[in-house]
Every structure is written in structure tokens, then in C-alpha cells.
Amino acid sequence: MTTSTLTDRLGSLETFNQSALDRFLEKRIDPLWLSAKRKEAWEIYQSLDWPNPRDENWMRSDIRGLKLSKFAPNVDESTQIASGSPVRLLDGVDVSASARSVNGVVVSETLDEKLSAKGVVVGSLSRCAREHSGIVEKHLHSLICPKSDRFAALQTAMWSDGFLVYVPRNVRIELPIHLHAALGDGQVDLSHTLIVLEEGAEATVLFESSSPDPMASGFHCGGVELIQHGNSHLRYVNLQDWGKGSWHFAHQRASVGRDAQLQWTVAAMGSRFAQVDQRVQLVEPGASSQVNGVMFTQDRQHLVYNTLQHHNAPHCNSDFLYKSVLQDRSRTVWRGMIKVSPGAQKTDGYQRNDNLMLSDAARADSIPGLEINADDVRCTHGSTSGRVDEELIFYAQSRGFTRSEAIRMIVTGFFQQIFDRITIESVREALGAAIARQVRQYE
């Protein structure tokens, strides 16, 4: 396939065009700076081609099945349907705030009054862009560049809504904040999640996405920005469980300041195709980040994760562990990079990706990488891929486990190393249960 045919197919759509943009902007009540930013991104969108399949980031991605013309930008709010999308991270959890979006538009928000009085902001990003314009203008799309690729440009121009979590200086929120995005069949979600923790702030954010119909085919093109100032602590959980016919494109970024700590847990179970570009930048000395990634795929799912842990300052720590289990004909691609900038001495970087294949037809690509421009650093990486070991199955069977129970147990054990790192019990349990549900019967 050549680039031009891809461009033809994706680019000749009638749906994401100038008149759609004009109509979209007309309906919005955005501050001037935002309208200007959108128009600027639209120019970039128009000047860019769709990703070149020869590009290193996209060469293992197959988006030939994407027919963007089947989707239209979500301009008219009357198309919103309240839906029964499952929520998994709330079991037995008290929350301090919550917000929910349907097809990329926030439909409900709650926030503990005491937190509100302390200056905490949680809720619709569109609303906050008007009501807390200063905060949003300063941070929104400060980490994601619309020039990254055409999806980033489209999202910067036409993001419909999403969530803002803003925690002021030295405010510590004990109970988690829950955010839920629902996406219906044939619908579009161009949302953005912006989380800003000022100096000394602390928060736990549970974000999950799902669809009312488990096979729903939607289009998500989103952005996540986690901005942490000095000494702040953020635990961010992202459970991606879109309907299994959905397309998921996302740029996800974190910037971690002096002595701040980030624990980012990613569970990718949904969508038919996902391309996630995840970058954590350690921008000041003493910053530390831990990323725990779980992928569980089936049928013909194809998930691509490009991760970057970028050490921009000395004495920082990054620790990325991604584990995937693949069933059926599914495919995962994990491409990890530790980048150490000149001067980022005493860097401690770790990356690892382990893959367990439950079927001969599954395929996992694992490409770890290092780019080191400082001389006093410690960076280690590794990856393993293999089929489930028949000797383990026999051993368990000789102790009374059925073959199916044995495989389920081996899969649970395989993920345990990640679960051991997740410090939020309810998240551990919810992920464990979600994975157990997906393991097929093996006879």
C-alpha cells in the first residue's frame, strides 16, 4: 500500500472538512485564545498527510480498515444518548469527585464542596476553558504538539470536551476522582483529559472508557496531559475498554517536576485497533515515574503502544513495565524508548515488556530501545515473548486443575507482578476480574 492511497482513503472524507470545522466553531462558546489555537491546529491538519506506513511509529500499524467517512464530528449535542456503558473501577470505592462524558461531551459532574472551596476544579474541559480560562490556557496542549501527526492536529483543532482535574498547591485529595467516557456505536469521541497538580498537591484519578455495546465501533481520537509540579503525587489509572470494533488513537503525555512522583497504570483491553503514543518527561531533578501496563487482547484486536521515558534532568527515575497476554489472532506492538538528554546524569531508567501468547496465531512485537546522551546513568531494558508452557499446564493438571483452569491461573500469575505494583486495591481487583472474564475456555 502506498501513502497516497491511504491519504486518498482517509483524506477525501467529507466529514472532517472545513465546513464541519466552521459549523463546529460556530456552535462553541470558546475563549478567543482557544478559537485561535483550534484554527492554527486546523491549518496544520490540512498541511499534513496521514501517517506514512513506512514511518517507524506506524510501520507495524494497520489502519487500512479505518473508514473515517463513516464518522462525523460530534457537533450537535442532541445526538447524545445516555448509555449503559459498564463502569468497572467504582466497585466499593468512595470518590471525592466524578465526571462522565458520552461521545466526547461531558454529561454529568460532581465535586465535594470542601474540595471546591480549596480551589480544586474537576469537570468539563469545555466549561473550564471558559470559567477557569487561565488554568486551561496555560496547560492545554502544552505537552502535545499538533504537528506530531495528523491525528494530534485533528484532536487539537476539534476536541469536543473532556475533563479537567486541577489541584492547587499543597492540596491533598484522599479519595479518588472517577472519570468515565462512554462511546456508542458509530459515534465519535474527540476528548481531552488535562490533569494539573500544583506544587505539593496529591490526587488519585481513575479514568475508564467503555461502550454500551461490547462490540461497538466508535472513533476515539484523544489526548491526555498530566502536568505535575514539584513534590506532587499523582496516581493515574487508565482502563481502556472501548467496544471491540472501535478505533483508538491517543497522544498521552506526562511532565513530572522536581521530586514529584507519578504512578501511571494502563490497562488496554478494548478497541479493534489502538495506537497510543505515551511519553513521560522527567523535567526536574528527583522526578520519578512508574508505568504499569497491562494488555489483554483477543479476536483480531491490534494494539500499538509507543512509549517514551524521557530523562530531561539529572537524578530522575523511570520504571516502565508492560505485560500482555494475547488470544486468538490478536496482535500487540510495544515499542519502548528510554531517552536520556545531555546532562541528565544519575538517571535510573528501566523498561520491560513481557508477552504471553495463548494461541499460535497471536503475535507480539516487542522493541525496546535506548538513546543515551549522558555518561553517568543506569538504564536497563528487556523483553520476553513466549507461548504458555505446557509443562506448567501439566503440573497444574496433575494437581487437579482442568486445562482451562490451569491456563487461567498461569495468566493471572503472569500479570501478578504488575498487580503487585498497583497500590490501589480496588483497581487491582477490578483489573483482575476484567482479565479473568476474558480468558477463554481452553480444551
Binding site: 496433575s398 487437579g400 482442568t402
Partner: protein
């Protein structure tokens, strides 16, 4: 209780290479049998064939537990029927705690008709039982929280296998070199543990090169395997003789079996477990 494990004319191949060439053996509930023989004679193969390892093809003959034909069963069905094998080198299952593994195993073995997803033995009840068994076997309670065989020393693996046997209360147990790689104290402890579980509460087949385990668990019967067959059967004195004098007499007395044994050793490839 009276149960019988009956092995009739058993022929077993691995990767289409014949290993066992007609084994006959009857073990009654409450009896202890020793199975001895030089390297490559087929001792472990017999154990794995009884346990139901899928790589061990039964080409002829059968294995009966009372009226049930084990050769028609999967390994898990055999386990639920009351067969247990303590492996020489049990595999590690990272991320799965001993206690969780044993709880699931014990539930399945005690409730052979249990369907996947049905309740396990209540946690409290199971913990109490596991704790008391571990005390009996002089095991550190921390053991229950470790991952199955993961990073275990040789001695810890063997003790974990004995603990598993104690929790599953099988009708028949095959101990495959449970004494190998252990120091004298560990062997004494392992032997005492087996005796403590109660040799009269199961039928035992002890596979060994040595006689250390047998000192504490004297066999009523000793079988000598050579070239994939049991060539001689005697009492406890035969085990002592083989330990003291080796297999020279046996090798000379059964030249055909010795030839088969040499042939198997010559083409022996690393076989799993």
C-alpha cells in the same frame, strides 16, 4: 478402605521411542513399594505415564485404579481419582501463591465433580488446615505466601511436594527421587514427614537411587527396573542389596534388558520434567 493400582503390560513411548516395554505392577492401598534401577531404566517414565503426562504415549497395556481405566483420563481426572506424583523437578508458576494454588487443587481433588467457577473451600477453613499441616511438616508459615516453586531451593521444592501430597490425601502416591539433592537432615525430615502423613493411608511407590528414604519408609516390595521392564521383585532386603552392591548382578542376570537399557541411554534426549 481398599484400593488397588494395577499396571498391566504397560508399553510407553516418548517421541515414538519405546521406553517402557511391558511393565506389570500391582500396588494395594497401604503398601509401600520401592522402584529402583540404574539411570535411564524407565523409572520416572513409569511415574509420568501413571500421572498422565501428555508426552508419554501409552502404546500398549493399561493402568487401572480400582475399576477405572486411568489411561483414558486426562492428568487432572487422574488427580481427582486419587493419583499423585511428587516430581523430581517441579516447575515454578510465577505469580501464583502456594496457598492459592493448594486451595484450588484441594478443592478440585476433594470435590471431583466440581465445575470451573464453583466455590472453593472456604478461605478460613483452608488456612487453618494448611497451617496445621505446615506445622506438622515443620515449614515456615511464610512458605504459603511464596509463589509456587519460584526460587525454591532443592529441599524446599521437595517439601512443597510433600505438603501438596498431605493436602490432597491421594489414594496412591508416586515419589520420584524425593530424596535426591537433599542433605541427610533434609532426607530425614522428608522421610519422617511421609511417615507422619501415614503410609497406611495410601499406596506408595517410591522411586529412588538410594536407600535413605527407604530406611525411614521400609518397603514391603522392592522392584528393579532395567531396560523398561521390571526384572526382579523382592522385599526390603533387595533394596539394601542394590544399595550396597549396585546393579552388576542384575545387569548380568538380565542381558536382554541390559542391552535395551544401554540402547535407551545411548539415544536418550533431555525429556521434560
Amino acid at each position: 478402605m481398599s484400593h488397588i493400582l494395577r499396571i498391566e503390560n504397560l508399553h510407553v513411548s516418548v517421541n515414538d521411542k519405546p521406553i517402557l516395554r511391558g511393565v506389570n505392577l500391582v500396588i494395594k492401598f497401604g503398601e509401600t513399594h520401592a522402584l529402583m534401577g540404574p539411570n535411564g531404566s524407565g523409572k520416572s517414565t513409569l511415574g509420568l505415564a501413571i500421572a498422565g503426562h501428555p508426552n508419554y504415549q501409552i502404546t500398549e497395556g493399561s493402568i487401572w485404579l480400582d475399576d477405572a481405566n486411568l489411561t483414558e483420563m486426562e492428568a487432572d481426572e487422574r488427580s481427582r481419582a486419587g493419583i499423585f506424583m511428587a516430581f523430581q523437578r517441579p516447575v515454578a508458576i510465577p505469580g501464583v501463591k502456594m496457598a492459592d494454588f493448594l486451595r484450588h487443587a484441594a478443592t478440585n481433588v476433594r470435590q471431583p465433580d466440581r465445575k470451573e467457577g464453583q466455590d472453593l473451600i472456604p478461605m478460613r477453613e483452608f488456612r487453618k488446615e494448611l497451617k496445621s499441616k505446615m506445622e506438622q511438616l515443620k515449614m515456615d508459615p511464610e512458605f504459603a505466601r511464596r509463589y509456587v516453586n519460584d526460587g525454591f531451593s532443592g529441599g524446599e521444592m521437595k517439601r512443597a511436594e510433600i505438603l501438596t501430597m498431605a493436602m490432597l490425601s491421594p489414594k496412591f502416591s508416586i515419589l520420584d527421587e524425593t530424596d535426591s539433592g537433599l542433605d541427610a537432615d533434609a532426607v530425614r525430615l522428608a522421610s519422617a514427614s511421609i511417615a507422619e502423613i501415614g503410609r497406611d493411608k495410601m499406596g506408595l511407590l517410591i522411586i529412588t537411587h538410594h536407600d535413605k528414604l527407604l530406611e525411614h519408609n521400609p518397603p514391603q516390595f522392592t522392584h528393579v527396573m532395567l531396560g523398561g521392564r521390571i526384572v526382579e521383585t523382592g522385599g526390603a532386603e533387595l533394596a539394601r542389596e542394590l544399595h550396597d552392591q549396585g546393579y552388576d548382578r542384575i545387569r548380568k542376570a538380565y542381558p536382554d534388558a541390559e542391552a535395551a537399557n544401554q540402547q535407551m541411554l545411548a539415544k536418550e534426549e533431555p525429556v521434560a520434567v
